[in-house]
Amino acid sequence: MIQKLLSLDRRWIFLIIAVVVFVPAILKIPVPVSTISNSTQQLYDTIEGFEPGEVVMISLDYGPSSMAELQPQLTALLHHCFAKDLRVIGINWAVFDSVLLGQNEFDRVARLHGKTYGPDYCYLGYKPGGLPNLLDMGKDISSVYPKDVHNKSLTDIPMMKAIKNYDHISLVVDLASVGSPPFWINYVYGRFQQTLALGVTGVMISELYPALDAGQIVGILPGLLGAAEYEYLIQDANYTMEGGDGATGMGIQSFLHVALILIIVFCNIAFFIDRRNRSNIA
């Protein structure tokens, strides 16, 4: 029996994982957040403090593979921005793959808040060129993005008439699963003193706290936890009725961690019992 548990076929573990992930995902079991981590609170407060009409730029620097973690963050942010009547610009600075993801989400959330493309928000998409693009946007956004994703010239987009460069943008949020944050921090904050916030995958978070302490960024959303916390905050303030994927995702994450820990604990118990039996025999 003990022996069986120790040399358990991997597929049983796969099965456990699958169950632990699928069941909550289908039943949408959310895990309420109890405390809000400072980094999230700070970002929320920053946006909360904005006047209607101020501009937030969100850069989606993540591919489909990390969509699960960052898309809920995007949704929550958009809800907050639109509810506060802020104007939003969407770009993909580093990653090409997520243009469609971002675009659709922008349109969806905007519809919920009765916002229209052009005056209230716009989506500029991806332009190859890397770092120079970041710097050029400090001079003139339209030098990097002459046209938006709908191939519409920026001069024809009402909100962009007033927005030339970072000076006219109150906050830039970089949602990143790739190595983009250092560039935003070093160049966009460093050179243009642009107010900056990040949303990153859970793995990246601990490397970026220093930037928060150094005051280079006003807040970080840590992975799904961050998304869940932000959802909690905006729902608490009645900015949206929509239950986000963040809470569910975080739930799944929790359950899977629990399952994993239990597996490890049991197998160690078994391991010790087994060892004692052996020593008794010997």
Partner: protein
């Protein structure tokens, strides 16, 4: 000689690059970018070799009818699918630029573009370069723009203006003198890249390069249009931009999002299962070391699961006020940032030393494994 030449070349290039690092002078920067381009170009040819190998292997499997040879056919299907899609996008003519009254076809013959057609096109909202020639390609006409280039002395004003993304009036004159039309500055976007600027407006591009106080103005892209063969219902002739073989076409994109991404993401997501099975095997308190691995791992997992780190923790230990708030997270960060950090740094320092030593072995020519020795 079959050995020496490559080794000498390798060491020479290597040491030059090491020295380059210490020289801020522009020449050394140019050298670096040159080498970069060189290697980038090499990579392109290398890919051909790789592709050859891939095709060879699967052709052979099919030929030899080895086990699973049928699947090699699938490989070729996939292999052709993407380029075909790109071709489809290429053939499907992109968005129409302007339209030309059908009756003007008579005006289209080889040679310079007739004034009437030009007028019609400009009215159609198309900004044409000053000098264009028409060339009939089967049932189509290609409006090819003649390349222009002129050099002029650059005053520092012009340069500063360009750097600010504006166009100096003097520069504007210099264009008009050579009757190159340069629209009002609002319509011209200036992209500055180091000592090069790109003036762009509609279908017009000018590349400005600045060297030795001389500003070279040149058109580095040809604006080629093709007047379509089949008149659309309105009887007008649609005018299309010249086409490009690209990965951003709609069909390629469709394939990418619906076939490539699912495969890629799912492959990646298998990690969730494997990390579990690996943990199950590795995290057993066999030895002292394994126990440490186990403990650190479990603590981190605990802290990373909000359900455990918040709800569970508070319900059990919430009463213990002497503990700082969010204790699990603190412990997690401590492990990552103190012992974890220490180990990581040391390993990275070690790895760096190893890598340098390895590189030196190569540059000094005592490690010749790469030559197959």
């Amino acid at each position: 000689m079959k050995r020496q030449i490559p080794i000498i070349l390798c060491s020479l290039l290597g040491f030059c690059l090491v020295v380059r690092y210490f020289i801020p002078h522009r020449l050394s920067q140019d050298f670096e970018s040159t080498v970069n381009d060189w290697v980038r170009i090499l990579a392109v040819f290398a890919f051909v070799i790789g592709l050859g190998s891939l095709i060879r292997v699967h052709l052979r499997r099919i030929a030899m009818k080895v086990s699973h040879w049928q699947y090699s056919i699938v490989v070729f299907v996939g292999l052709l699918l993407m380029p075909l899609a790109a071709l489809v996008d290429f053939v499907k003519t992109p968005n129409q630029l302007a339209s030309l009254p059908a009756n003007l076809t008579s005006k289209l013959q080889n040679g310079p573009l007739s004034a009437t057609v030009r007028q019609a096109l400009t009215e159609g909202g198309l900004s044409l370069p000053p000098v264009v020639t028409v060339e009939s390609v089967g049932k189509r006409w290609k409006i090819q723009e003649q390349r222009q280039q002129f050099a002029t002395d650059a005053s520092s004003e012009i340069i500063t203006q360009l750097d600010q993304g504006k166009i100096d009036t003097i520069l504007r004159q210099k264009f008009s003198v050579r009757d190159l039309q340069l629209p009002e500055s609002i319509e011209v976007t200036v992209q500055s890249k180091g000592r090069r600027w790109l003036l762009e407006s509609g279908a017009l591009w000018y590349l400005l390069t600045h060297q030795k106080q001389i500003l070279t103005v040149s058109r580095d892209t040809t604006a080629a249009y093709i007047v379509g063969p089949n008149p659309v219902r309105s009887g007008d002739l649609p005018v299309y931009a010249s086409r490009k073989f690209s990965k951003q076409g709609s069909s390629v994109n469709w394939l990418f999002l619906n076939v490539y991404v699912p495969l890629d993401a799912t492959m990646f997501s298998l990690l969730a299962f494997f990390i579990a099975s690996a943990a199950y095997r590795a995290f057993r308190a066999r030895t002292m070391d394994a126990t440490l691995l186990l403990l650190a791992g479990v603590i981190l997992m605990f802290a990373n699961a909000p359900l455990l780190a918040n709800q569970f923790w508070h319900s059990i230990f919430g009463g213990l006020n002497f503990l700082p708030d969010a204790f699990p997270t603190l412990v997690k960060d401590w492990i990552l940032q103190v012992p974890g950090m220490a180990a990581r740094r040391a390993i990275q320092i070690g790895l760096a030393l190893g890598a340098i030593s390895q590189s030196l072995r190569i540059l000094l020519g005592i490690d010749r494994a790469w030559m197959g020795e």
